[in-house]
């Protein structure tokens, strides 16, 4: 039964894609605005593949759109990290960097999955996420190893988001791959980039849990979904 695992992958890309798209028209520079919008677009495209396959496998007549727009917060199975609010540009880029580091390793593992359809989506996504990770890493380095102000904000962003990193490696049978096995490679990458960015990784390994199991999302998810879902919920048959 792979439906639950597919929904996890699709909910991560959906929720982060929606969050990143909130920057559209508001980013600090035109180039950043375009880059954020393009990243969001890739993530929403990947969502259509993951949730599309989940709906098909479930065989209950739902579609990727039904899954995206007609579930409530407690039905979502995304990581807590991706539902965290954008706050400033530094927090947004640190969240992206932490997720990209995990996402690329997860997709690389899934590219060799026994299930050909899962492997195909992962192979397609790897190409896009390679660019995401390159860009978020460059930005974390530039701002971390930047001015006193930018460095302080990036360290603050890292400290704020660090408690959401551990959940990415908490494994259970619903996952499409053993995510706990990704930790050494992801941490090696994170440490390399953070060192170059002159940022200090927090010592604590405390981790908030409950996003990928749906047991306890943060308060932010419901507010985000209210905005994302209002149109199809208010006008369920609307087409455009």
């Amino acid at each position: 039964m792979s439906v639950a695992g597919l929904i996890r992958m699709g909910d991560n890309t959906l929720v982060l894609g929606q969050r990143v798209s909130e920057w559209c028209g508001h980013a600090p520079a035109l180039e950043e605005d375009i880059a954020l919008a393009n990243t969001a677009l890739d993530l929403i495209g990947q969502t259509q593949l993951w949730l599309g396959l989940a709906a098909e496998r479930e065989g209950a007549g739902r579609t990727a759109d039904t899954l995206a727009y007609h579930r409530d917060a407690w039905d979502f199975r995304n990581l807590l990290l991706v539902e965290q609010p954008n706050r400033d540009f530094g927090v947004t880029m640190m969240r992206q960097f932490l997720f990209d580091a995990w996402h690329l390793e997860a997709l690389t593992a899934l590219s060799a999955h026994d299930d050909a359809e899962i492997a195909a989506i992962a192979q397609k996504s790897v190409k896009e996420v390679t660019y995401h990770r390159e860009r978020s890493s460059d930005t974390v380095i530039a701002l971390g190893d930047g001015t006193d102000e930018s460095r302080a904000r990036m360290q603050g962003a890292l400290d704020r988001l660090w408690p959401y990193v551990g959940e990415m490696f908490s494994a259970d049978d619903d996952d499409l791959t053993d995510v706990s096995a990704l930790k050494p490679a992801v941490f090696t990458y994170l440490e390399t980039i953070l060192a170059e960015a002159t940022l200090t990784r927090p010592d604590s390994d405390f981790a908030h849990m409950g996003g990928k199991t749906g047991a306890r999302h943060t308060e932010h998810l419901g507010h985000m979904l209210a905005t994302m879902q209002v149109l199809p919920r208010s006008y369920p048959d609307a087409t455009w």
Binding site: E31, E32, I34, A35, N38, T39, L41, D42, L43, I44, G45, Q46, Q48, L49, A116, A119, A120, I121, Q123, K124, S125, K127, E128, Y131, E134, R135, D138
Partner: protein
């Protein structure tokens, strides 16, 4: 019954005349997204692969394919989406790459950056942003003629 079914080669020829909706100087065949054309009984099956999974041009591309084939008398058409193997810029034809450069878009290079400025051919170029006006392009600038230009990313 007289069969007037178009040959697969003819269909490829028609598709080679369908422009990409975002970059109309190159065709869908130049772009390398048409993966297969074959007849299955009375139905023509065209296999298309998306460039980027979120590319908004995908649905327009499907519409353009349908319109072009219908105009050539194809009535039973099945469009098949294939995502594996994933699209790569290696599938772009050399003609397509040359057309891109003439249009002012630096074609993809294995080295990961443009070989030269598509406007003045200077090799002194710098990256502005890894993301450009569409998911498939990055923004670069020539440090000689100072013109910004799009670079078609290598994936």
């Amino acid at each position: 019954m007289v069969t007037t079914r178009a040959s697969v080669d003819e269909v490829w020829g028609w598709l080679a005349a369908v422009p990409d909706p975002e970059i109309p100087v190159i065709s869908l065949v130049d772009l390398g997204i048409i993966r297969d054309v074959q007849w299955r009984g009375d139905t023509l099956e065209v296999t298309v692969t998306p460039t980027y999974s979120g590319c908004p041009a995908t649905s327009i591309i499907n519409f353009e394919i349908e319109a072009a084939l219908l105009a050539n008398g194809i009535e039973n058409l099945s469009l098949k989406r294939q995502i594996a193997p994933p699209w790569t810029t290696d599938w772009m034809t050399d003609t397509g790459k040359a057309k891109l450069e003439r249009y002012g878009i630096a074609p993809p290079q294995a080295a990961g950056g443009p070989a030269r400025c598509p406007h003045c051919q200077s090799v002194r170029v710098e990256k502005i942003s890894q993301f450009g006006s569409t998911p498939c392009k990055a923004q670069w600038r020539c440090t000689d003629c100072l013109e910004p230009f799009d670079y078609f990313k290598c994936i």
